[in-house]
Amino acid sequence: MNAVNAADTSFIIFSTALVMLMTPGLALFYGGMVRRKNVLSITIHSYAAMAIVSIQWVVIGYSLCFGKDFAGFIGGFQFLGLQGVGFLPNANYAATIPQSLFMLFQLMFAIITPAIISGAIAERMKFFAFSVFILLWSLIVYDPITHWVWGAGGWLRNLGVLDFAGGNVVEISSGISALVAAIVIGRRKKLKTITPHNIPMTMLGAGILWFGWFGFNAGSALAINGVALNAFITTNTSAAAGIIAWSICEIASRGKVTSLGIASGMVAGLVAITPGAGFVSPMASLIIGGIGGALCFYCVTIVKQRLGYDDSLDAFGCHGIGGIWGGIATGIFASKAINSAGANGLMYGNIKLVGIQLIAVVSTIAYAAIMTFIILKVMGKFMSLRVTSEEEMDGLDVSLHGEEAYGGIDI
């Protein structure tokens, strides 16, 4: 019989609220980067995720992730409709906070993950199709991967994979799916002429993401302890290192530091530290964030242009690439001195952890890519995924939602 700890519980309630705020933050972050005629459409994608995933989660999603294990692949129906999810802690996940709170904390992760994908299909996907997609994606991609990594009995958890706050579960799964969705749905028209319409909005969104990420990473310790505070420090350090690295790349290649670059480097640093936040030292997070920023810069500014896919707002470039690097980096830098529940990585003589991390990265990439492709192809048989060319030119705000963000004459 475990006792609920009041300090831990208060901390996780606060963290849950912080993570919730990340999704509106993401809406602002993305909203500023689209053209003014599409800002409402991209904003609504994030809010739709809040509504759809919240319901999916309490009805079945939580149970599929954290219910009784089935073959290491998915949870069962044990917690269907939140049956048995109450004030009593579940020692498999967090021994000192109510299971209902753990469920809520996890819900916020489940919400932001499909919302991230919207960045890759911005300005061209039908709203109805996106809504159906995130429901199916949550059930078919997010819930199983979460079970593999975090669910009791999940095959990656049993293998000993380290994913502190969702490098596989959130970042790689959404980033890879975003890339697949961008390719399946195709490029926007007149791609070369598209510019962001409100960068201050993006900067505000980026700031809210950084703020919320403290709940995301420190909260993932699920208790107030040294690991939580270590995660807090590594998160902040890695974000800063991501900014510096991205800015240096910008100076080297174009001679100017841009605000959008600062926002992107920050996200790259935050993504990269997510899987390792509670396992690596602050000095390691400096390296992880720095390399993460540089890798994402390379992917967003060079690889994307060269390959020609339209990952509009760099969901893959930041979350996919940053997440993959973060997963591998955790295998390199993890230390038992930081977190006794973790493992030693390559730097501490355990090359095996790198292998385990690679298995997790590769299996997440493969599963998310294949399933996203199948979901979109099957959906495409029943509905059109993409707006018509006329709707695209008029802007999705007016053509799909009957609203303008900044309409009328200025009076």
Binding site: K190, T193, M393, D394, V398, G402, E403, E404, G407, G408, I409
Partner: protein, 120 residues
């Protein structure tokens, strides 16, 4: 001074602005002034919804492209713009042509035809 200058105003939907700009560049129009404007004509607009309230929006966002030409024939400009912008539907927009008395370039005081030309 017997040169004739014309100003061409094209008011149209923003949809094809990029094509228009490219096509005008291709016939040698290198300078233009573009603004976002709101306007209404035969096209009666669309419905928008705010908290359930349906509103007829008849002032639609358009763009206005202003060009002054001398050496390039006005007919060519008009023909090019029509070719790019024509869909046959209401809302394609209008083209207005005016005579221009004179042109003065502020940086060096050049007037008339010289004010439109740039020596590389």
């Amino acid at each position: 001074m017997n040169e004739k200058f014309s100003k061409v105003d094209i008011i149209t939907s923003s949809r094809k602005f990029e094509e228009l700009k490219e096509a005008l560049n291709a016939i040698g129009v290198s300078g233009m002034t573009v603004s976002n404007v709101l306007g209404c004509g035969m096209q009666k607009g669309h419905k928008e919804f705010y908290r359930g309230l349906a509103l007829d929006i008849n002032l639609l966002p358009k763009i206005k492209v202003e060009i002054v030409v001398c050496d390039i024939p006005v007919e060519l400009v008009v023909e090019t713009a029509q070719k790019v912008l024509h869909t046959g539907k209401m809302g394609d927009g209008k083209i207005f042509i005016y005579d221009v008395k004179n042109i003065i370039r502020i940086s060096n005081g050049a007037e008339g035809r010289d004010a439109l030309r740039y020596d590389k």
